[in-house]
């Protein structure tokens, strides 16, 4: 990894989280015939929150104060470990399972922090979040593991590098994993069909209810971690789709980087579109939606297993066919 790439990574790392969430908000407004907030509105919000003082429940333990900072730092580590952009640090820790458990640890901490305050609303949000993550986690695990099976390694950087040979079966695995990850991340990030991030009705909130007790700089950290998480998840799914594309067509690196960023924006666009046109599902219908994520990842694993069975098959070329 050379100097330009590191520079690119840092810039994108700093800019994208704010930009993407601002983009989604703005686009949603435009799709609903409103003018909407400026693209950098999340930044202004963070600034505003940092200015404010903090109100903390008397019953809260120190844990409640520590967790946002803790989660934010875990998120920073994850952002470096996960190959969500087409640049790879050769860090030793980018194991699938380490990454998965770091994500799980974040969820765990935010759930206990929510329970810590003793507020009924946040406890209620926490319980819902726990249910949802229990349902989504298999989907995320399986879609990453499918890639692991296909490339016979659990190192994410190695999976997402281009050293491996590619066939059409890989295309299906990449596509299915990417779709599974994207759908799962919609749930994981409490986006629309499951949870409405802009809702004002406490009964339907999930994530918002969980962080309802946080305020001031504490909330700012949570928001920032959330934005980062959004970009990392979308980036990872975008990388899956990009790899599928790269199997079919030869793309040079600079274009590839640009296309990757574009892909993240397309996913953000999709999110905004879903949030404008779809309605929030009733709570008991959620498993039906999550089942799709799980199905995609299960199919990806199945395809990966088949692929190892057909390792000897000759490679086809869809491009020639088209």
């Amino acid at each position: 990894m050379n100097f330009t790439e590191i520079l690119c990574f840092i810039v994108l790392f700093l800019v994208l989280p704010i930009l993407i969430s601002g983009f989604i908000r703005n686009l949603k407004a435009r799709l609903q015939n409103r003018i909407g907030s400026p693209l950098l509105q999340p930044l202004y919000n963070l600034y505003k929150l940092l200015q404010k003082s903090e109100t903390i429940s008397q019953d809260a333990s120190p844990l409640f104060r520590i967790v946002p900072a803790l989660n934010f730092s875990i998120m920073l580590i994850l952002a470096v470990l996960v190959p969500w952009l087409p640049f790879h640090f050769s860090l030793p820790g980018s194991e699938i399972f380490l990454v998965l458990y770091l994500f799980a640890a974040m969820r765990f901490f935010s759930i206990i922090a929510a329970l810590d305050t003793g507020s009924p609303f946040s406890a209620f949000g926490a319980s819902r979040e726990a249910t949802l993550s229990a349902l989504t986690e298999p989907a995320i695990i399986l879609s990453l593991v499918a890639l692991g099976i296909a490339y016979r390694t659990s190192d994410l950087n190695e999976i997402f590098s281009f050293s491996q040979s590619h066939g059409l079966m890989q295309v299906s695995i990449w596509l299915l994993s990417g779709a599974g990850l994207f759908l799962a991340s919609l749930v994981e990030l409490s986006r629309m069909p499951i949870d409405d991030p802009t809702t004002h009705l406490e009964l339907t909130m999930v994530h918002e209810a969980m962080v309802i007790e946080n305020s001031g700089p504490n909330l700012a950290l949570i928001e920032l971690a959330y934005n980062l998480r959004l970009v990392v998840y979308y980036g990872l799914s975008a990388q899956c789709f990009m790899h599928a594309l790269a199997v079919l067509f030869t793309i040079d690196h600079a274009t590839y980087v640009l296309l990757s960023i574009l892909a993240i924006f397309i996913l953000a666009f999709l999110t905004a579109a879903i949030e404008s046109f779809a309605v929030k599902l009733a709570w008991r219908n959620n498993p039906e939606f999550i089942a799709y994520a799980l199905t995609m990842s299960l199919l990806a694993s199945l395809a990966a297993i088949f692929q190892s069975a057909f390792a000897s098959l000759s490679l086809g070329n869809l491009g020639a066919f088209l």
Partner: protein, 215 residues
């Protein structure tokens, strides 16, 4: 992996996703995508096996099965105001996962088919074909809506067609066309009967059609 195999896998995936929703419109859309992939797979096969008449079959499939039939069925569902299907026996998400398991099972089944059927190493094609048979049957068994039954039947029919494409060389053209015509007529008649059922019973839930039970 050949384009034929890739497209047939796509068909299997669309069929499985179809099991995962109770919304008829979405079911029909996914059915249409599935049939499209099968038609494209036919074109791929016709290039590979040098059977130019398969082009016509593919075009006929696109026109009849991928466009006309779903359009007709969605028109009916609008007319009789049937939007969704609550499912029966097992919950809808589980149906989808069962369909995946069946896809897994179809692989050893396809492997165990007699060796004559391996024309140009069509394991994947045969796997997908068998999985479509399973998925269609599963769909018919786990849905209660008369329209869903038709969709399941059509999926089953797609599976049978895919067996013909992948496991034989040069199925007689007239036979392919004849069976396609039969499917079209069957769907038309079934559609008319759905209208009648809605009119007489005021629902189209086939599990409630039990007036003729034994004694």
């Amino acid at each position: 992996m050949t384009p034929l195999e890739f497209l047939s896998i796509a068909a299997a995936v669309f069929a499985i996703l179809m099991c995962g929703t109770g919304l008829l419109r979405f079911n029909l859309f996914l059915y249409s995508l599935q049939t499209f992939s099968i038609a494209l797979a036919t074109i791929a096969q016709s290039q590979q096996a040098k059977e130019p008449e398969l082009y016509f079959v593919a075009i006929a499939i696109i026109v009849v099965k991928a466009l006309a039939v779903p359009y007709f069925l969605s028109w009916i569902s609008n007319r009789i105001d049937a939007r969704s299907d609550p499912g029966i026996l097992i919950p809808i998400p589980i149906t989808m996962h069962a369909a995946i398991v069946l896809l897994g099972i179809s692989y050893p089944l396809a492997k165990s088919l007699p060796h004559i059927l391996w024309l140009s190493d069509s394991t994947v094609g045969a796997t997908v074909a068998i999985s479509l048979l399973f998925t269609g049957t599963l769909f018919m068994l786990t849905r209660r809506n008369a329209l869903s039954q038709i969709i399941g039947f059509l999926t089953l029919e797609n599976g049978i067609y895919l067996v013909a494409v992948t496991c034989t060389r040069g199925m007689p053209f007239i036979f392919e066309m004849g069976s396609l015509l039969d499917v079209l007529v069957a769907v038309m008649i079934a559609g008319l009967f759905v209208f009648r059922i809605k009119k007489s019973f005021e629902h189209i839930d086939v599990t409630q059609l039990d007036g003729l039970k034994e004694s």
